[in-house]
């Protein structure tokens, strides 16, 4: 594949787009792990939302 005399610009554009997309994916995955972990820690310490307590079997 010949990208011509401006190949560097094409490669740079695709590389930067890849970095932006990868950054967004990593941020959302890491944030999900962090929030899930914090929620689990709080629930282990006995904290539960009223709606969650209401949903528990009696």
């Amino acid at each position: 594949m010949n990208l011509g005399p401006h190949g560097g610009f094409i490669v740079a554009a695709y590389a930067i787009a890849s970095v932006v997309v990868a950054g967004l994916i990593c941020w959302i995955v890491a944030d999900h792990r962090a929030q899930t972990k914090r929620l689990a820690e709080l629930e282990r310490s006995g904290m539960a939302r009223r709606s969650a307590r209401g949903a528990e079997p009696s």
Binding site: F9, A13, A17
Partner: protein, 245 residues
């Protein structure tokens, strides 16, 4: 299931948990197909040569940057008018995604402009109005981080979003209203696309891939925001219990 049923955050999270794996697979497939079409199959442009390949990421990124603000405007109405419980969640989580896609549009546009126009940047109406869109996204993100009370932050961000929506038609029609170095619309125009089908098809596939990616990231970010608010509520309850004992 009625639309109002999605107002329940628990039900929304269950729906997202079920939908996300399918969306991830669909996004990956469309991205792979789109990149293959854009890089391998699409012919070079008769004037621009291979640099036309930058269009396949620049144009979808621009569309998603504008779509993000459009979604935020609908969410702003949901916050101010209907007081939908998930509206300000959507408003908050769309801003960083929209900012990222707008930044991608600006950077890839600069990299396309240098070999074609001889300059990375020019203060013409299209480029400047897109830069304003990016700065407005940063403004909304900053506002959310500045105001501590989420409901007050949501109202302020909703008003700023609706005011900023004025910029959307300016971006779209800037190439018609003013003399710009940026080319006029060649896909979304009244007379139909002026772009050759051999280039239009990969562009549409990449646009579909970017849209699927945006939806997937948005649903994931909304789920995270709902969990973050649960954590905040439980911490407030924990602090209140500690204060009472």
């Amino acid at each position: 299931m009625a639309l109002i049923d999605f107002a329940n955050p628990n039900r929304f999270i269950r729906l997202v948990d079920r939908a996300l794996p399918w969306l991830v697979v669909a996004t990956a497939l469309f991205c792979a197909l789109g990149l293959y079409q854009a890089i391998v199959v699409a012919p070079d442009d008769y004037q621009q040569g291979a640099t036309v390949k930058i269009m396949f990421i620049h144009v979808p990124a621009a569309w998603l940057g504008m779509l993000g603000w459009t979604l935020m405007s609908v969410a702003a109405l949901g916050t101010l008018v209907w007081r939908h419980p998930l509206a300000d969640v959507a408003l908050k989580t769309t801003a960083p995604l929209g900012a990222a896609f707008t930044l991608m549009c600006l950077v890839t546009g600069a990299l396309w402009g240098r070999p074609m126009w001889g300059t990375y940047w020019v203060w013409d109406a299209r480029l400047t109005s897109v830069l304003v869109l990016f700065l407005m996204y940063l403004g909304v993100i900053a506002l959310w981080r500045t105001v501590e009370d989420p409901s007050r932050a949501a109202r302020a961000a909703a008003i700023l979003t609706l005011v900023g929506a004025v910029n959307l038609p300016i971006i779209k029609f800037s190439v018609d209203w003013w003399s710009t170095l940026h080319q006029p619309a060649s896909v979304l125009r009244l007379g139909g696309p002026t772009i050759h089908p051999a280039l239009l098809m990969p562009l549409m596939i990449m646009a579909a891939a970017f849209t699927l990616l945006f939806v997937t990231l948005q649903l994931g970010a909304m789920r995270n925001e709902i969990l973050r608010r649960r954590v905040r509520t439980l911490r407030l309850m924990q602090a209140a219990n500690a204060g009472a004992s």
